[in-house]
Structures are given as structure tokens and as C-alpha cells.
């Protein structure tokens, strides 16, 4: 089936896609192929490993109980940079995978201006120009790209202080923390919106598919692109023919 995901994900015969079977049932659309999902969960795991090991170093007087999880303080400190590199490696691949659909457009600026309507649920469906990703998703994506670059630069400086010197470490220390705090704030919003905040979203990263209704609700322009149907019309049609609701 022709989806926009195939359009920008140019290697349909990628090894992981061949290993991971994606089943698309009727009434569903392919959202994320196996390769994308694999990357997401790979850097997701590394994110939490780095986050928890970092917490023990960030504020030991509260979070010292995190360090035994990684084999004690010295081991935590030794592993943390590798967790970070694991995150950056897999997220880097995802950034290449998603660079095109994450391109910022005028529609995303409009989306950001309507943020209040989005947060208060005044828009029950997204504006018709919201494509594969909305402005908020793109903002978070580019924040993580910038944050990861900051992580790597400041992290390497703190990893090898004998090369870069004490002043560079003292500055990096603050930047590394700021990046972590911003991402920590982001992960709550990310997890909320992908689970209870927007029901039906989680399966996009597990089975790789979403319902058509999910698509016209949250990404109307993408729905139109994939199915060729007008999302507003599809919604009206569904309202008309609606029989008792399907459990989610």
C-alpha cells in the first residue's frame, strides 16, 4: 500500500523491516514501519538508562538510591556516558529517518499559534493542514536534536577533563543539566500524549498502525495523502454511519 511513510522511508527492504512483520488490518493505516519502531524503542531504553544513571549523579542527596541499580556510584559514572552514546546513536539514525517529514513549514507555525485550542481540546480534530507530524511533535524532535548535540559536546568535555580543562567542565556541567531538564519535561508530555492523553496513539509505535479515524482526527493532511479521501468528508460519513462505539 502506498503510504507517506514509504515515501520518505526509502528502504522498504531494510533488514529490520523484513524481520519485523507489520500487519495492517482493514480500517487501519501504516504509521511507523518496523525499522522506525525498533529505533524508537532502542533509544527509548537508552534514554531511561541515561536518565536514571544521570539522576544519581545530578542530585545524589535525593537520588542516591538510583546508583545501586547500575552497580554502585563508580559503575554508574562509568556507564552513563555509554548509555548517552547509545541514545545519541539510535536517535541519530531516527533523525536521518525523520529529517524530511520533520521539516518545519508554515502550517507548523500556525499550529503553534493554535496551541491553546489544542491544549484545551477546543479543536476536536486537528486543522486540515496537519500532516504526518504536527508542530508540537516537530518542536520536540528538533529540541531533542539540539539537546543531543549539546549532550555529546558537553558530555565528552566532562568525560575527558584532562584534555579540556576545569573551566570547560564547569560550563559543560550546567549546559548538560539544562538539556537533561528540558528533555525530562518533554518525556512527561511525550508519554502522556502517546498513552492516556490521546487514546489510540500507542499502537503506532507497537504494532505500527493507527485507525483511520485516528489519522483524520490527529493528522488530517496525512490521512488525505494516504487514502486520497477528504478527512472532513470521511469524518462526516463516519458520524452518519456510526453504530455502537468500538472499544479502544
Amino acid at each position: 500500500m502506498a503510504t507517506s511513510s514509504q515515501r520518505f522511508q526509502g528502504q522498504p527492504d531494510h533488514l529490520i523491516n523484513r524481520l519485523g512483520l507489520t500487519v495492517v488490518y482493514v480500517g487501519e493505516l501504516l504509521r511507523h514501519r518496523a525499522y522506525t519502531r525498533f529505533l524508537h524503542w532502542a533509544y527509548g531504553i537508552f534514554f531511561f538508562l541515561a536518565l536514571l544513571s544521570g539522576f544519581g549523579i545530578y542530585m545524589p542527596w535525593i537520588f542516591r538510591w538510583f546508583t545501586p541499580l547500575f552497580g554502585g556510584g563508580a559503575m554508574t559514572r562509568m556507564l552513563h556516558p555509554w548509555f548517552g552514546l547509545g541514545f545519541v546513536f539510535f536517535f541519530g539514525l531516527q533523525a536521518l529517518n525523520w529529517a524530511l517529514p520533520m521539516k518545519w513549514g508554515p502550517g507548523d507555525t500556525r499550529w503553534m499559534k493554535r496551541l491553546n485550542d489544542y491544549v484545551t481540546n477546543r479543536d476536536t480534530v486537528e486543522p486540515p493542514d496537519v500532516g504526518f507530524f504536527n508542530g508540537g511533535q516537530k518542536l520536540m524532535f528538533w529540541e531533542i536534536v539540539c539537546g543531543s548535540i549539546a549532550y555529546v559536546i558537553t558530555g565528552v568535555i566532562m568525560w575527558f577533563p584532562e584534555i579540556f580543562g576545569g573551566v570547560a567542565v564547569a560550563v559543560s556541567y550546567v549546559i548538560h543539566d539544562v538539556s537533561a531538564l528540558v528533555m525530562l519535561a518533554g518525556i512527561f508530555i511525550h508519554i502522556y500524549l502517546s498513552t492516556i492523553g490521546e487514546p489510540g496513539t500507542m499502537q503506532a509505535m507497537t504494532r505500527g498502525t493507527v485507525s483511520e479515524a485516528w489519522a483524520w482526527t490527529h493528522h488530517p493532511a496525512w490521512f488525505k495523502e494516504v487514502t486520497g479521501r477528504d478527512p472532513a468528508q470521511a469524518l462526516a460519513e463516519a458520524r452518519r454511519t456510526r453504530t455502537p462505539a468500538i472499544p479502544q
Partner: protein, 304 residues
């Protein structure tokens, strides 16, 4: 210290008058006084330090000066820094400065350290590393204004001068003091050492013509438990990296103590925010569900 305090006599039976020695205060803070004007650079203190602390000696490098090696090391905590200083009148001066941990009252290493119990400051002023708790992050190196802590790559721990806390705890003076042949090193309470230092500075100013002579006990870090007498206290930099106003980087004071907890709270507010959003605004649901019959008929699968 505390055991001596607990065994001080408080009441005496059948004794006239007050308890002898009542109200006396014990000066707890110890101090090492280094008189650079009488140091001859013999390195006896370096050897005594290596011997007492039982450290393996490593090959060094001769750099055409009277300095044992370029810098202190994880197994070499005490180094006489040699500096040749030229004066405007064409004369020159050899400055010997015994370089080791300064045991700051407000230690930058301790402020920077993120490991529970890896750095302690005793009530007598000694700042000591507890290597078994060290995680090897080397933030202490960055926090120290004197570049004292040194990393051992093979053990992944940081080491520095202990001011012979093991000896001082037993009522002995540090090994370097014991070895000094010229008497340029003194050890005692901080008050006593400052008194000796002041006397010596007055002597230098009045009788040796060193009008800039003075004490180095930087107050920007609350004073130190190692105090220098310098020929020229107006310019400590020329003694080889002795900062005039040593300071702890703001990352390890302002940021670490204030902005870190506040930043974490601010970050955790988003967690409270999403919960609040769920309660007040509710989830964004799919509009409306796809018709049932279409799903029921949909046995067919499509594969990627």
C-alpha cells in the same frame, strides 16, 4: 577531639572553688604554615610524603629547573614549585613554593563532588578524600581553584594530600613538617600559625627590606588550613599558579545548590501538568470511531 571533650571534668566532690580548667576552649582548627622565604628547595618534604603515604614512585622528567617533576600526581601530592622571577633592576629571584592541597575552609572539590561521602571535611579543617566512595567523575578537579586533585586512570579514583590526617589524628605532625630541615614548615593550631606568620612578616618587612611580604590565607574561600608567608604577597601568581583570589566555579555553588533543585521542580511540574490536563481537559479522543460493520468484515490483512 570529642572524646577529650566528653572526659572533661564538670564537677568534683569535696573540692573548694570552681573546677580547674573549666571554660577553657580547645582550638580545633589545625594549620600548616609554609615560610617560602626560608625554603631551600631540598625536597625532603616530597620524599617524606611519598614514604609516609607509601606511594609507588614513578619516573619523572628533568625540565632544566630545580623542580622534581612538572606537576603533582595522583601518587605525588607534594611538590616544591620552582620559579625564577626577573626583576626590573636586572636581578632575579628563585622562588620555592611547597605546593599541595590547601585544605580550604570552603572546599571547591567538596562542593563539586556528586558522590555521597567521597569528600569530607573534618572539624580540624582537614579536607580528606574517601576513595572507596569516589566515583571517578573528576568534578573535584574542576572545582578546585588550585588544581590539586589528581586522577589515577587505572583505579579511576582521585587522590590528593590528606594533611596526614592519619598522623594528625594520633597527635603527630604531618610527615612533611617532620622532614623539613630549615624549619620553614610549622604545624599547629590556626591561631598559633597566624601569630607566628604575623611575627615573621613584621620581621621580613622591617629587617629584610621586603616591604611587600605578607601572609597568603585567601578569604575568598574562607581561608585555608595551609598558610604561606610570601616575599611578595601582592603577586602570589608568580609563585607558580597561586591565585590571588581563588574562587569556586559558580556551577558548583549557585547552579548546584539553587538552580538544580529549582530546575528539577520546574521540570517535574510538567508531570503535574499532564495529570492536571487529564483531569481538567480530559483526553483527546478519536473523532468518531470507524463504523463497526467495516471492521467486522475486515478479516483481510495487508502486510508492509
Amino acid at each position: 577531639m570529642s572524646d577529650r571533650k566528653t572526659l572533661q571534668i564538670q564537677k568534683i566532690s569535696g573540692h573548694p572553688g570552681p573546677v580547674p580548667g573549666a571554660g577553657t576552649q580547645r582550638q580545633e582548627q589545625v594549620c600548616k604554615l609554609i615560610d617560602t622565604t626560608t625554603c631551600i628547595g631540598c625536597k625532603a618534604c616530597e620524599v617524606a610524603c611519598v614514604e609516609w603515604n607509601d606511594m609507588p614512585f614513578q619516573p619523572t622528567m628533568f625540565d632544566n629547573t630545580y623542580q622534581t617533576m612538572p606537576d603533582t600526581n595522583w601518587n605525588y601530592w607534594n611538590l616544591i614549585k620552582f620559579n625564577e622571577v626577573s626583576h626590573e633592576d636586572g636581578s632575579f629571584q628563585w622562588l620555592m613554593r611547597k605546593h599541595q592541597c590547601m585544605h580550604c575552609a570552603d572546599p571547591g572539590c567538596l562542593a563539586a563532588c556528586p558522590a555521597d561521602g567521597a569528600i569530607v571535611q573534618y572539624r580540624n579543617g582537614i579536607v580528606d578524600f574517601q576513595e572507596e566512595n569516589c566515583i571517578g567523575c573528576q568534578f573535584c578537579v574542576s572545582g578546585c581553584p588550585f588544581n590539586v586533585p589528581k586522577f589515577n586512570p587505572s583505579t579511576k579514583k582521585v587522590y590528593k594530600c590528606t594533611l596526614c590526617s592519619d598522623r594528625v589524628g594520633q597527635g603527630l605532625e604531618p610527615a612533611c613538617i617532620k622532614a623539613c630541615p630549615t624549619g620553614c614548615l610549622h604545624f599547629g593550631t590556626k591561631d598559633d600559625m597566624l601569630m607566628i606568620a604575623n611575627k615573621r612578616v613584621t620581621q621580613l618587612q622591617q629587617h629584610a627590606g621586603l616591604k611587600d611580604a605578607g601572609i597568603y590565607d585567601p578569604q575568598t574561600i574562607g581561608g585555608t588550613s595551609v598558610v604561606y608567608i610570601l616575599h611578595d604577597a601582592t603577586n602570589p601568581e608568580k609563585y607558580g599558579g597561586l591565585p590571588k583570589n581563588p574562587r569556586i566555579p559558580l556551577s558548583f555553588t549557585l547552579w548546584k545548590n539553587w538552580f538544580k533543585p529549582l530546575g528539577l521542580i520546574a521540570s517535574m511540574m510538567t508531570f503535574a501538568g499532564v495529570i492536571l490536563h487529564y483531569v481538567t481537559e480530559g483526553p483527546r479522543r478519536v473523532q468518531p470511531q470507524p463504523p463497526v460493520k467495516e471492521i467486522d468484515g475486515g478479516e483481510a490483512k495487508k502486510e508492509n
